[in-house]
């Protein structure tokens, strides 16, 4: 399902040793999609974190947990570790299309070619989270997050254009936590994060 290069395995085992952690595994999954590419999650977790539906890969010295939702999108993927003057770090090659579903692909196309270039001029960006049953789930980031005009951007801009170009979409739902935004409501200047703390 997922292959791990010798360099990556060696690096991961080295990190585990450095952190002096026993009974840990590596969780690998698709966290989201942004700018037409997968965004991956790669993190150490306790072995107790393993879910019954996880796909477990014996990586030679440690186990790799892949959640069931991510598994189809990671079939045939490989994890490598590269170190060089231009780039350094884990490198993931994934042969799978970012959006196998043609409707989702079409929505992503509208975001990439029309919406994001326009909202970028206001310091914002829109990410497609998922498309299910004719509903597109999006998240707004940057200057859009928490902006008093976010509803205008969504209802008068994104929704109109996406539905016009992708008629299969009947609704767009904003999943953003706008309390986390940089410019919620009345604010003299940009900067800041969620006021809520636990």
């Amino acid at each position: 399902m997922v292959t791990i290069s010798d360099q990556a395995r060696s690096r991961i085992l080295g990190l585990m040793k450095a952190e002096k952690r026993d009974h840990v595994a590596l969780r690998f999954g698709v966290q989201g999609r942004h700018g037409g590419e997968f965004v991956y999650r790669l993190a150490f977790v306790e072995e107790s974190d393993r879910a019954a539906t996880d796909v477990v890969v014996d990586a030679g010295g440690f186990q790799l947990y892949v959640d069931a939702d991510s598994a189809p999108s990671l079939e045939g993927a490989s994890i490598d570790y590269v170190e060089g003057p231009r780039e350094s770090g884990f490198k993931i090659d994934n042969p799978n299309p970012v959006w196998p579903d043609p409707t989702a692909r079409a929505v992503q196309q509208v975001l990439d070619t029309e919406i994001n270039p326009a909202v970028a001029s206001h310091g914002g960006h829109v990410t497609l989270i998922d498309v299910k049953d004719g509903i597109a789930y999006i998240a707004l980031g940057g200057g859009c997050q928490g902006c008093g005009m976010v509803d205008v951007t969504l209802k008068q801009g994104i929704e109109v254009r996406v539905r016009e170009l992708v008629p299969e979409i009947r609704e767009i739902i904003d999943t953003t936590d706008h309390a986390e935004g940089r410019n919620p409501y009345y604010q003299p200047a940009k900067g800041g994060a969620s006021p809520f703390s636990s």
Partner: protein, 418 residues
């Protein structure tokens, strides 16, 4: 259905509520804002960029737009757009308030003059130039009095003075606030008698000059100064029928005196044994996120009711729900940098609490009244009685923990909800 032109500032709290209401009504919206919208180019027939202060130019722009796309109504979500809304609606032949009436309502001094001339209970008042010698002005003032910058709202810069020494100090402070906050620096300060009594807020709807009270909010926290920070609003009012009638009569009289005849009004009044005194009346609905406390019939929002009314639909049968409801505008306890607000989950578990929204992000400078004017956020409650609503709001507020660090030297008071 012809679209509604919704005038709002890009910093408004109200966009979401109005757009949601428009979707329920099934009316398209043209968003009229003072700055260009990010996606206006993709949907130009639904956006207009307008200078709310350049009334004649912006009215021409709206009329020109309406030649290409008919408009069914023009509504202002915030104070800033009410004059343009009246002027544009007039030019388009739509139902509207007289332009002169809206201009009067936007001026504290002209409102006082109109209400006083109509013989309605009104504090004695006068205006004083900002460059007047405060000691001289103090000597000509009766006490206690209240000093208000003419051009600001939401209690910003409003200070009570009980004696001449208070007056001089307050005058300097109000002048500094006005100079810093008003475009052009502000010109005058309104000085008026302090009116003791209980303060209430009235949310109303005018139809051909007849005022219908949509909700009357008690403000259970005493507003006695020296600053006048709003906190809790609870409806229905616990005042008796005679008192409620006096308040409704005073608000209707003030609207008539000013010349307001159509659309939403938000009024603040003080009630004592001499009658109901108008503090202010604005030709728009309640500010901030406070409208969420109001629900009509089986879930109609205040914004939906306003839209339906503006489109000429019958809203007479829509009554406020039987439950009591309230909102607390979370006060800023001290100046500084907001590092966080804890206790939200606990506050949400208080029976009756529906939502706790903090609308200032972490890392921002917060400034209490009278220099500042915004609130930290809003707490909403619904319960079987006004007493229980008030109790729930206070209990939830007690559970919130505000981490505010020492202020930076650049702290400024931004605009805020009215």
């Amino acid at each position: 259905m012809d679209p509604v032109l919704l005038l709002m500032t890009t910093a408004t709290y109200r966009a979401g509520a109005f757009l949601e209401a428009a979707a329920r009504v099934g009316v398209p919206v043209v968003a009229g804002t003072e700055r260009p919208q990010a996606l206006a180019g993709l949907n130009p027939s639904a956006h207009l960029t307008l200078d709310f202060l350049a009334l004649a130019d912006s009215t021409r722009a709206i009329v020109s737009f309406a030649e290409r796309r008919l408009l069914g109504a023009v509504i202002a979500a915030d104070d800033e757009g009410v004059e343009l809304a009246a002027m544009a609606a007039s030019a388009l032949g739509l139902t509207h308030n007289p332009v002169a009436a809206v201009a009067t309502a936007r001026s504290k001094r002209r409102t006082r003059e109109a209400v006083s001339a109509a013989g309605l209970p009104s504090p004695r008042f006068r205006t004083v130039p900002l460059d007047e010698d405060p000691a001289r002005a103090a000597a000509r003032t009766a006490y206690p009095c209240v000093l208000k910058p003419l051009e600001l709202s939401a209690s910003r810069g409003v200070i009570r003075a009980n004696r001449p020494s208070d007056f001089v100090e307050a005058f300097h402070r109000v002048a500094r606030i006005a100079r810093g906050a008003v475009p052009g620096g502000g010109k005058e300060i309104l000085i008026e008698d302090y009116i003791p009594g209980r303060e209430v807020a009235l949310e109303g709807l005018l139809t051909r000059g007849n005022l219908r009270v949509l909700a009357l909010f008690d403000k259970p926290d005493p507003l006695e100064g020296p600053y006048f920070e709003e906190t809790i609003y609870v409806t229905p009012s616990r005042l008796g029928p005679d008192e409620r009638e006096a308040i409704a009569g005073a608000a209707a009289g003030a609207a008539r005196a000013i010349g307001l005849v159509e659309g939403p009004v938000h009024a603040e009044l003080r009630l004592n044994d001499r009658g109901a005194f108008l503090v202010e009346i604005a030709p728009r609905s309640i500010g901030g996120l406070c409208s969420r406390a109001l629900r009509f019939d089986d879930g109609v929002s205040l914004e939906e009711l306003i839209l339906r009314h503006a489109l000429g639909q019958d809203v007479e049968s829509l009554e406020r729900e039987p439950l009591a409801a309230g909102v607390m505008m979370i006060p800023i306890p001290r100046a500084g940098r907001l590092e966080g607000v804890g206790g939200r989950e606990e506050a949400l578990r208080v029976p009756g609490i529906e939502d706790v929204r903090v609308t200032i992000p972490r890392g921002q400078e917060v400034v209490p009244l009278p220099e500042g004017s915004r609130y930290l956020g809003f707490i909403f409650a619904r319960e079987t009685s006004p007493e229980r609503v008030e109790e729930a709001l206070r209990a939830a507020h007690r559970l919130l923990r505000f981490d505010i660090q020492a202020p930076s030297r650049t702290a400024q008071g931004p605009r805020g909800p009215a």
